[in-house]
Symmetry: C3
Subunit: 158 residues, 3 copies
């Protein structure tokens, strides 16, 4: 156990929850922590490229792909989304307050050295291929997560 | 504190979140950890028997019982449920990928020695009786949870 | 790290999740722990006064204020809300079982010495002013949270 390691399971792909995860991750990294984000289930969608290369998928995999937001720029609020109006309002307010957008937060987190791990089991179930994800992402399963969590002093599930 | 204990509060009864909890629990137990799952609120529904014995309930307790899913086999996705279609798609994909169903994951977790604690306060509020829950479940309140959490090095709330 | 410190990020403003956070916080404080609750995003609404003094807001800030529940007494269930009926049923059952209401739980937690920190970044984005929040709340950002979390042996995100 070390006081300078943190892990967060990013299960949610919602704009608000993802922002909370990234703000904590970025803050911890800026304070000298080694931070690992483990993206799983809906959280995987945050790592999708907006314009991925063509990949082979089954029909069901393709359908899941269409139904889920493609990338952090498409994430929406878990509450008050209101057909897009609430999410747009929140993004407008964030711009006026100089809060970075979610894609910017992801980029900054990686620049701060935060480790991104994409959950391989979720990728398999949801039919998401490695080429569809942004660069700099590592791949791992629950053992990789638990290995990091065992060494961290703060572990969150968001 | 020991490096080989983990606790998870299973607050959610959603299929996706429950799967995440069980996959982490099963993985940790397989790696030699003592894992305690504390089922509370909606998570309690995961422990309900599909065909429970008759129990005495007030009208309100019976109504809550009818409105909530009876057992892990009835859990639905928190997103993309789409009147059942999304949940059925996910379950179909999981079968084709040889991912165990949620009821199977619960059974495997218990076989791996994971401790299941049902939150007695939630049972009281929701009118769920001990006889309605699957076998092998222990009963406890917040003090039991905190006792386990104090000894664990990874504590999650899902 | 000390065995007697706990932190909870209260991200959700839902009645059920807030109750879970407060029950854990109150239980831990009663067992002699120093507990810090960090209220952020929707969780901030739990700290709003039902009848706040007039404050200057932009139109967007005022709109967010109108759309979000004003105070813990207005929190609703994340599931089974059913246009208010499910939430009212739950509150009725809680009264008959002598479970405190959410506003009472908040008051009791503070009487037990639980520290409440309102996330200043969320306040800024949502346009919530300090005068709108209940008394006895401290203010801080992610660094304050991480400082507390580093000293705690149980850290949850709810």
């Amino acid at each position: 156990m070390a006081d300078d390691k943190k892990t967060i399971v990013v299960f949610s792909g919602d704009l608000d929850r993802a922002m909370a995860a990234l703000i904590i991750a970025r803050g911890a990294a800026a304070m000298g922590n080694q931070v690992t984000l483990f993206f799983t289930f809906w959280g995987l969608n945050l790592l999708r490229k907006p314009a991925p290369p063509p990949v082979r998928k089954t029909l069901l995999e393709a359908m899941f792909g269409w139904m889920m937001p493609r990338g952090a720029g498409k994430a929406v609020l878990s509450k008050l989304h209101m057909g897009g109006m609430g999410t747009a309002m929140m993004q407008h307010v964030m711009r006026t307050k100089n809060v970075p957008t979610l894609p910017e937060m992801l980029r900054e987190a990686r620049e701060f050295g935060v480790t991104f791990i994409a959950c391989t089991m979720s990728m398999d179930v949801m039919g998401i291929k490695a080429e569809e994800l942004i660069d700099g992402v590592e791949f791992g399963g629950v053992a990789a997560y638990l290995g990091s969590a065992d060494e961290a002093n703060v572990n969150l599930f968001i």
